[in-house]
Protein backbone atom coordinates (compact mmCIF):
# COMPACT_ATOMS: atom_id res chain seq x y z
CA UNK A 1 0.00 0.00 0.00
CA UNK A 2 1.35 3.43 -0.80
CA UNK A 3 2.01 6.06 1.81
CA UNK A 4 -0.75 8.48 0.83
CA UNK A 5 -3.32 5.73 1.07
CA UNK A 6 -2.25 4.83 4.62
CA UNK A 7 -2.34 8.49 5.56
CA UNK A 8 -5.82 8.79 4.16
CA UNK A 9 -6.96 5.72 6.05
CA UNK A 10 -5.48 7.12 9.24
CA UNK A 11 -7.20 10.47 8.78
CA UNK A 12 -10.56 8.83 8.19
CA UNK A 13 -10.39 6.53 11.22
CA UNK A 14 -9.16 9.41 13.36
CA UNK A 15 -12.19 11.46 12.38
CA UNK A 16 -14.43 8.51 13.25
CA UNK A 17 -12.95 8.45 16.76
CA UNK A 18 -14.20 11.99 17.23
CA UNK A 19 -17.49 11.43 15.51
CA UNK A 20 -18.57 8.04 16.86
CA UNK A 21 -16.33 7.37 19.87
CA UNK A 22 -18.90 8.53 22.40
CA UNK A 23 -21.75 6.51 20.88
CA UNK A 24 -19.67 3.35 20.75
CA UNK A 25 -18.50 3.88 24.30
CA UNK A 26 -22.06 4.35 25.63
CA UNK A 27 -23.17 1.18 23.91
CA UNK A 28 -20.21 -0.83 25.20
CA UNK A 29 -20.77 0.54 28.70
CA UNK A 30 -24.43 -0.45 28.59
CA UNK A 31 -23.50 -3.97 27.52
CA UNK A 32 -20.68 -4.51 30.02
CA UNK A 33 -21.26 -2.15 32.98
CA UNK A 34 -17.54 -1.49 33.18
CA UNK A 35 -15.77 1.74 32.20
CA UNK A 36 -12.41 0.00 31.65
CA UNK A 37 -13.89 -2.82 29.58
CA UNK A 38 -15.93 -0.37 27.50
CA UNK A 39 -12.86 1.78 26.78
CA UNK A 40 -10.82 -1.27 25.81
CA UNK A 41 -13.53 -2.59 23.51
CA UNK A 42 -13.91 0.77 21.78
CA UNK A 43 -10.15 0.99 21.30
CA UNK A 44 -10.05 -2.52 19.83
CA UNK A 45 -12.95 -1.59 17.55
CA UNK A 46 -11.09 1.36 16.04
CA UNK A 47 -7.89 -0.67 15.65
CA UNK A 48 -9.82 -3.43 13.88
CA UNK A 49 -11.52 -0.84 11.69
CA UNK A 50 -8.11 0.54 10.79
CA UNK A 51 -6.70 -2.88 9.89
CA UNK A 52 -9.68 -4.03 7.87
CA UNK A 53 -10.32 -0.59 6.39
CA UNK A 54 -10.02 -2.00 2.87
CA UNK A 55 -13.01 -4.27 3.40
CA UNK A 56 -15.15 -1.26 4.23
CA UNK A 57 -16.46 -0.07 0.92
CA UNK A 58 -19.05 2.46 1.93
CA UNK A 59 -21.73 -0.15 1.43
CA UNK A 60 -22.96 0.64 4.91
CA UNK A 61 -22.49 3.81 6.90
CA UNK A 62 -19.26 3.97 8.93
CA UNK A 63 -21.39 4.07 12.08
CA UNK A 64 -23.18 0.82 11.21
CA UNK A 65 -19.90 -0.79 10.29
CA UNK A 66 -18.20 0.27 13.54
CA UNK A 67 -21.15 -0.93 15.61
CA UNK A 68 -21.04 -4.34 13.96
CA UNK A 69 -17.34 -4.62 14.80
CA UNK A 70 -18.02 -3.51 18.37
CA UNK A 71 -20.85 -6.02 18.79
CA UNK A 72 -18.52 -8.83 17.79
CA UNK A 73 -15.96 -7.58 20.31
CA UNK A 74 -18.63 -7.55 23.01
CA UNK A 75 -19.57 -11.17 22.27
CA UNK A 76 -15.89 -12.14 22.31
CA UNK A 77 -15.56 -10.43 25.66
CA UNK A 78 -18.36 -12.54 27.14
CA UNK A 79 -16.97 -15.71 25.56
CA UNK A 80 -13.68 -15.00 27.28
CA UNK A 81 -15.46 -14.54 30.60
CA UNK A 82 -17.41 -17.78 30.11
CA UNK A 83 -14.17 -19.64 29.41
CA UNK A 84 -12.55 -18.26 32.53
CA UNK A 85 -15.04 -19.88 34.91
CA UNK A 86 -13.04 -22.02 37.29
CA UNK A 87 -13.72 -25.03 39.49
CA UNK A 88 -14.32 -22.60 42.37
CA UNK A 89 -17.23 -21.23 40.38
CA UNK A 90 -18.57 -24.75 39.85
CA UNK A 91 -18.45 -25.49 43.57
CA UNK A 92 -20.08 -22.18 44.31
CA UNK A 93 -22.79 -23.01 41.80
CA UNK A 94 -23.46 -26.41 43.40
CA UNK A 95 -23.73 -24.83 46.85
CA UNK A 96 -26.06 -22.15 45.58
CA UNK A 97 -28.20 -24.78 43.90
CA UNK A 98 -28.51 -26.60 47.22
CA UNK A 99 -29.55 -23.38 48.96
CA UNK A 100 -32.34 -22.84 46.45
CA UNK A 101 -33.43 -26.50 46.84
CA UNK A 102 -33.72 -25.97 50.59
CA UNK A 103 -36.42 -23.33 50.07
CA UNK A 104 -38.86 -26.14 49.22
CA UNK A 105 -40.13 -29.10 51.27
CA UNK A 106 -40.19 -32.74 50.20
CA UNK A 107 -43.30 -32.14 48.11
CA UNK A 108 -41.50 -29.26 46.39
CA UNK A 109 -43.75 -26.67 47.96
CA UNK A 110 -42.52 -23.56 49.81
CA UNK A 111 -41.15 -24.01 53.28
CA UNK A 112 -42.35 -21.05 55.37
CA UNK A 113 -39.42 -18.66 55.84
CA UNK A 114 -41.15 -16.24 58.18
CA UNK A 115 -39.92 -13.28 56.16
CA UNK A 116 -42.64 -13.27 53.51
CA UNK A 117 -44.13 -9.98 54.66
CA UNK A 118 -40.95 -7.92 54.21
CA UNK A 119 -41.97 -7.48 50.57
CA UNK A 120 -45.30 -5.99 51.55
CA UNK A 121 -44.34 -2.47 52.49
CA UNK A 122 -46.40 0.59 51.78
CA UNK A 123 -43.49 2.49 50.34
CA UNK A 124 -42.02 1.22 47.09
CA UNK A 125 -39.05 -0.81 48.28
CA UNK A 126 -36.99 0.24 45.28
CA UNK A 127 -36.95 3.77 46.68
CA UNK A 128 -35.40 2.51 49.90
CA UNK A 129 -31.61 3.11 49.83
CA UNK A 130 -31.17 0.26 52.29
CA UNK A 131 -32.78 -2.13 49.82
CA UNK A 132 -30.50 -0.93 47.02
CA UNK A 133 -27.45 -1.62 49.17
CA UNK A 134 -28.61 -5.11 50.07
CA UNK A 135 -29.54 -5.86 46.48
CA UNK A 136 -26.08 -4.83 45.33
CA UNK A 137 -24.51 -7.23 47.84
CA UNK A 138 -26.85 -10.08 46.93
CA UNK A 139 -26.06 -9.67 43.24
CA UNK A 140 -22.36 -10.07 44.03
CA UNK A 141 -23.06 -13.25 45.99
CA UNK A 142 -24.51 -15.01 42.96
CA UNK A 143 -22.25 -17.59 41.30
CA UNK A 144 -20.41 -15.91 38.39
CA UNK A 145 -22.31 -17.76 35.71
CA UNK A 146 -25.68 -16.94 37.27
CA UNK A 147 -24.75 -13.30 37.68
CA UNK A 148 -23.72 -13.20 34.03
CA UNK A 149 -26.91 -14.94 32.88
CA UNK A 150 -29.30 -12.72 34.81
CA UNK A 151 -27.61 -9.46 33.81
CA UNK A 152 -27.48 -10.67 30.20
CA UNK A 153 -31.26 -10.76 30.25
CA UNK A 154 -31.35 -7.00 30.80
CA UNK A 155 -28.34 -6.02 28.74
CA UNK A 156 -29.39 -7.92 25.66
CA UNK A 157 -33.19 -8.16 25.92
CA UNK A 158 -34.55 -10.22 23.07
CA UNK A 159 -31.08 -11.23 21.93
CA UNK A 160 -30.27 -12.72 25.32
CA UNK A 161 -30.85 -16.33 24.24
CA UNK A 162 -28.48 -15.84 21.34
CA UNK A 163 -25.76 -14.48 23.57
CA UNK A 164 -26.32 -17.33 26.00
CA UNK A 165 -25.63 -19.86 23.29
CA UNK A 166 -22.31 -18.17 22.78
CA UNK A 167 -21.73 -18.61 26.50
CA UNK A 168 -22.55 -22.30 26.23
CA UNK A 169 -25.87 -21.90 28.04
CA UNK A 170 -28.78 -23.59 26.21
CA UNK A 171 -32.16 -21.79 26.12
CA UNK A 172 -33.77 -24.27 28.55
CA UNK A 173 -30.75 -24.14 30.79
CA UNK A 174 -30.98 -20.35 30.58
CA UNK A 175 -34.38 -19.91 32.19
CA UNK A 176 -33.48 -22.52 34.77
CA UNK A 177 -30.44 -20.46 35.74
CA UNK A 178 -32.62 -17.34 35.86
CA UNK A 179 -35.07 -19.21 38.09
CA UNK A 180 -32.31 -20.32 40.49
CA UNK A 181 -30.79 -16.83 40.50
CA UNK A 182 -34.12 -15.26 41.39
CA UNK A 183 -34.66 -17.75 44.22
CA UNK A 184 -31.21 -17.06 45.59
CA UNK A 185 -31.70 -13.29 45.33
CA UNK A 186 -35.06 -13.62 47.08
CA UNK A 187 -33.52 -15.61 49.90
CA UNK A 188 -30.56 -13.24 50.23
CA UNK A 189 -32.81 -10.15 50.30
CA UNK A 190 -35.09 -11.72 52.91
CA UNK A 191 -32.11 -12.67 55.06
CA UNK A 192 -30.59 -9.20 55.11
CA UNK A 193 -33.58 -6.96 54.95
CA UNK A 194 -35.96 -7.12 57.85
Amino acid sequence: MDVSNTKNKYKTVESWVDQFGDYLYSWALYKTSSKETAEDLVQETFLSAFHSFDTFQNRSSPKTWLFSILNNKIIDHYRKIARSFSSIDTTNEKDSFQITESLFDKNQNWKPSGFENIWEKEQNILDDPEFTKIFDGCLKELPSKWNLAILTKYRFGKDASEICQELDISPSNYWQIIHRSKLLLKKCIEKHWM
Partner: protein
Protein backbone atom coordinates in the same frame (compact mmCIF):
# COMPACT_ATOMS: atom_id res chain seq x y z
CA UNK B 1 -54.60 -32.21 49.91
CA UNK B 2 -51.19 -30.73 49.12
CA UNK B 3 -50.19 -33.96 47.38
CA UNK B 4 -53.36 -33.96 45.35
CA UNK B 5 -52.67 -30.35 44.38
CA UNK B 6 -49.24 -31.36 43.11
CA UNK B 7 -50.66 -33.91 40.72
CA UNK B 8 -53.18 -31.57 39.17
CA UNK B 9 -51.69 -28.19 39.79
CA UNK B 10 -47.90 -28.37 39.93
CA UNK B 11 -45.65 -28.00 42.94
CA UNK B 12 -44.56 -24.55 44.03
CA UNK B 13 -41.09 -25.21 42.68
CA UNK B 14 -42.48 -26.10 39.26
CA UNK B 15 -44.87 -23.13 39.35
CA UNK B 16 -42.06 -20.67 40.10
CA UNK B 17 -40.03 -22.28 37.31
CA UNK B 18 -42.85 -21.58 34.87
CA UNK B 19 -43.14 -18.00 36.12
CA UNK B 20 -39.53 -17.46 35.02
CA UNK B 21 -39.74 -19.63 31.90
CA UNK B 22 -42.59 -17.63 30.38
CA UNK B 23 -40.41 -14.51 30.38
CA UNK B 24 -38.07 -16.29 27.98
CA UNK B 25 -39.96 -19.05 26.17
CA UNK B 26 -43.67 -19.37 25.35
CA UNK B 27 -45.53 -21.78 27.66
CA UNK B 28 -47.68 -24.62 26.31
CA UNK B 29 -51.43 -24.36 26.83
CA UNK B 30 -51.29 -27.03 29.54
CA UNK B 31 -48.52 -25.16 31.32
CA UNK B 32 -50.48 -21.92 31.16
CA UNK B 33 -53.59 -23.53 32.67
CA UNK B 34 -51.60 -25.33 35.34
CA UNK B 35 -49.83 -22.14 36.35
CA UNK B 36 -53.02 -20.10 36.41
CA UNK B 37 -54.75 -22.68 38.61
CA UNK B 38 -51.77 -22.92 40.90
CA UNK B 39 -51.36 -19.19 41.47
CA UNK B 40 -55.10 -18.78 41.98
CA UNK B 41 -54.85 -21.10 44.98
CA UNK B 42 -51.34 -20.53 46.30
CA UNK B 43 -50.63 -17.25 48.05
CA UNK B 44 -46.90 -17.91 48.37
CA UNK B 45 -46.53 -18.29 44.59
CA UNK B 46 -48.77 -15.33 43.93
CA UNK B 47 -46.42 -13.36 46.18
CA UNK B 48 -43.42 -14.84 44.36
CA UNK B 49 -44.77 -13.54 41.06
CA UNK B 50 -44.74 -10.03 42.52
CA UNK B 51 -41.35 -10.46 44.16
CA UNK B 52 -39.89 -11.70 40.89
CA UNK B 53 -41.14 -8.52 39.17
CA UNK B 54 -39.65 -6.40 41.95
CA UNK B 55 -36.30 -8.13 41.46
CA UNK B 56 -36.57 -7.47 37.71
CA UNK B 57 -37.15 -3.78 38.35
CA UNK B 58 -34.30 -3.67 40.85
CA UNK B 59 -31.99 -5.25 38.28
CA UNK B 60 -32.84 -2.79 35.57
CA UNK B 61 -32.46 0.11 38.04
CA UNK B 62 -29.08 -1.29 39.11
CA UNK B 63 -27.87 -1.35 35.50
CA UNK B 64 -29.23 2.12 34.75
CA UNK B 65 -27.54 3.61 37.79
CA UNK B 66 -24.26 1.95 36.97
CA UNK B 67 -24.43 3.26 33.42
CA UNK B 68 -25.36 6.79 34.40
CA UNK B 69 -22.47 7.02 36.83
CA UNK B 70 -19.89 6.13 34.19
CA UNK B 71 -21.35 7.50 31.01
CA UNK B 72 -19.81 10.88 30.40
CA UNK B 73 -18.75 9.87 26.93
CA UNK B 74 -15.38 8.56 25.93
CA UNK B 75 -12.79 10.41 28.02
CA UNK B 76 -10.23 12.66 26.34
CA UNK B 77 -7.55 10.36 27.69
CA UNK B 78 -9.21 7.31 26.10
CA UNK B 79 -9.53 9.14 22.79
CA UNK B 80 -5.91 10.16 22.66
CA UNK B 81 -4.90 6.60 23.61
CA UNK B 82 -6.77 5.31 20.59
CA UNK B 83 -5.23 7.91 18.31
CA UNK B 84 -1.74 7.08 19.59
CA UNK B 85 -2.36 3.39 18.96
CA UNK B 86 -3.50 4.16 15.44
CA UNK B 87 -0.32 6.14 14.85
CA UNK B 88 1.79 3.13 15.87
CA UNK B 89 0.33 1.21 12.94
Amino acid sequence: MKKLMNIFLLSCKKATELIEKREILPLSTTEKVQLKLHTSMCNACKAYEKQSKTIDEALSEWLKKKEKKEDKGLSGQAKSNIINKLKEN
